[in-house]
């Protein structure tokens, strides 16, 4: 598959097999997955535990070699190293040298990334401030809480101001405030023009932050596309609550707009395509009905997610 012009990450037919037992048996964990991430978007890589999310991310980070297929970031094969000057990575539940302080660990990673000595100190201070760890900058990492480690993890991923950032479960284990802070930081990265690849199984985070998603189940991509299209199955709908609906109006709504009607007491709930809302309202008002409320309808992400996974599993 040819990469789209604005694609910053391209995974093509990647297969990964691990040897198990005495090394004679092979277990295939990725079955030829393909997807792309566009520049400047927040891309959610979503799937249940054991689906192959972290394996895919480790392949992108060069920690695992694919058995076959190709993975590229910024047009470079992930086996190369120099392009990683433009890539940041936060692993799941990150571990760092616990005997170093927050300031020291960021200095260490800045040095690894080739940040010039003259700029290193300023960059470290700016990041400590950005992730809210100035007060704990000189404390050893062994004294950090999980949330603080997650924040220092994000800071080290950004220490060289990369173009694309890969985050593995960035909000796992955080309290609601911590999750909001990290989410805001991710949205800020997008506002700065960076591309964010986010591995997660927390659907609410996907819904709130991601522009596009790929869903992986049992090592296969079962869906890839914009989050809105995914949520609405490609078609947005709205729920209208009408009063004084005559039998003729009800029949007309069903016939002309394929509306779904549900009587509730003396009212009727009407679910219609979003593009038909104006016409339905006109028809209702002309027929003497009253409009009590209009609400855009959203299917729960969890329901769509589960149905996508089930559909994918049936197909495979």
């Amino acid at each position: 598959m040819r990469p789209a012009a604005s694609e910053i990450v391209r995974v093509t037919d990647v297969v990964k097999e691990f040897r198990s037992g005495a090394g004679l048996r092979k277990k295939r964990v990725l079955h030829g997955i393909s997807f792309g991430v566009r520049e400047g978007e927040i891309f959610g890589f979503v799937g249940p535990n054991g689906a192959g999310k972290t394996t895919t991310l480790k392949i992108l980070m060069g920690l695992i070699r694919p058995t076959s297929g190709r993975a590229e970031i910024l047009g470079h094969d992930v086996g190369e190293t120099d392009f990683r000057r433009q890539v940041g990575f936060l692993p799941e539940s990150p571990y760092f040298y616990e005997y170093l302080t927050g300031r020291e660990i960021l200095g260490f990673y800045a040095r690894l990334c080739g940040v010039p000595r003259a700029l290193r100190g300023g960059r470290v201070e700016a990041l400590l401030s950005q992730v809210g760890l100035e007060a704990a900058a000189d404390a050893r990492l062994r004294t950090y809480s999980k949330g603080m480690l997650q924040r220092i993890g994000i800071a080290q991923a950004l220490v060289h101001d990369p173009r694309v950032v890969f985050l593995d479960e960035p909000m796992s284990g955080l309290d609601p405030l911590g999750r909001k802070e990290i989410r805001d930081l991710i949205l800020k990265l997008r506002a700065e023009g960076k591309t964010v690849f986010m591995n997660t199984h927390i659907l609410s985070d996907v819904e709130l932050a991601c522009d596009r998603v790929a869903i992986i189940a049992r090592g296969r991509i079962v869906h890839e596309g914009p989050i809105d299209a995914f949520l609405d199955g490609g078609e947005r709908r709205s729920d209208l609550v009408l009063g004084a609906v005559s039998a003729a109006l009800a029949a007309a709504l069903e016939e002309r707009f394929a509306a779904q009607l549900q009587p509730v007491g003396d009212r009727v709930e009407v679910r219609v395509r979003e593009k038909d809302v104006d016409a339905v309202l006109r028809a209702a008002l002309e027929a003497g009905a009253s409009v009590l409320s209009i609400n855009p309808h959203r299917v729960s992400l969890e329901a769509v997610f589960l149905s996508a996974i089930e559909a994918g599993e049936r197909a495979s």
Binding site: Y95, Y99, F108, V115
Partner: protein
């Protein structure tokens, strides 16, 4: 502050010198951190303490003899430096890479613009520097004890310490090689076993050369070629006995050690490149 500035990039791609400097900076960052981690090890200080204790105990042991007291003192000193130097190289060295993988600190490091070879070289040099620092401390203790006891000290002693340093670097390379793909327990067994055999390969070849069976002669010759000839780094006998040492006695083993280390590290990198960090 622009991204390009942070990345230390000009508009043109970096030249060879800049690229080489970047690689050296990455290796030195890993090496520096390895030293920092290693010197936090209590085991290291325990081994170092025992080494210095044994060097000092040489005074007591030599006082039990009426003849060649200086030789006994220095034989014990060299033996202590060799044994505890190797022990430090093995026990501190074999776990360094394994710990990075087990604690998953390697994930963030290898996601940076640092190749696996540079990471491995950084770990190797960090451990080599640590071992040399410990050897330096033991050598200082050895010199102090010899000076206080009136035992002779000269260039031969310095040459013997230098070659001991080379031997320890060979052991560090072997430990790094095994730690690139196996557990600390197995690494220490394999590397320790190789050190023992490496001190015997010259004798094995001598014994094999007297055999009537050609296969035995060939096998012992090849074992001597493949396994490290660690006896070639041992000038302690010459130093303690005041025997003459030529420049070739020193520089040939140094060159041999450098070549052996290079080959072992190339093999280590080849294996490490293929590893999956699951």
């Amino acid at each position: 502050m622009s991204s390009a500035a942070l990345l230390g990039e000009a508009s043109a791609p970096p030249g060879l010198a800049t690229a080489a400097l970047r690689r050296l900076a990455g290796i030195s960052a890993i090496a520096g951190n390895t030293v920092r981690e290693a010197v936090r090890s209590r085991l290291l200080y325990t081994l170092l303490g025992f080494g210095i204790l044994l060097i000092c105990a040489g005074v007591l042991l030599s006082s039990l003899s009426y003849v060649e007291t200086d030789r006994i003192l220095q034989d014990v000193g060299f033996a202590a430096m060799r044994f505890f130097g190797v022990a430090i190289a093995l026990f501190v060295g074999v776990g360094l890479i394994h710990k990075e993988v087990e604690r998953r600190t390697i994930y963030t490091i290898l996601s940076k613009p640092l190749s696996r070879a540079e990471f491995l070289l950084g770990k190797f040099w960090g451990l080599a520097l640590t071992v040399w620092m410990q050897l330096g401390i033991m050598a200082a203790a050895f010199a102090a004890v010899s000076w206080a006891s009136g035992a002779p000290l000269g260039r031969a002693h310095a040459a013997a310490c230098l070659l001991l340093g080379v031997e320890l670097v060979v052991v560090v390379a072997i430990a790094t090689f095994f730690s690139a793909f196996t557990t600390p327990m197995l690494s220490s067994l394999f590397a320790g076993g190789l050190w023992l055999v490496g001190n015997l390969t010259r004798d094995l070849r001598e014994i094999g050369s007297g055999s009537e069976l050609p296969v035995v002669r060939h096998v012992t010759v090849w074992l001597h070629r493949l396994l490290p000839d660690l006896a070639s780094f041992n000038l302690s006998l010459e130093a303690a006995h005041g025997l003459p040492i030529t420049a070739l006695d020193v520089w040939l083993p140094v060159l041999y050690g450098a070549a052996y280390v290079a080959v072992v590290l190339v093999l280590a990198v080849a294996i490490f490149e293929r590893r999956d960090f699951r």
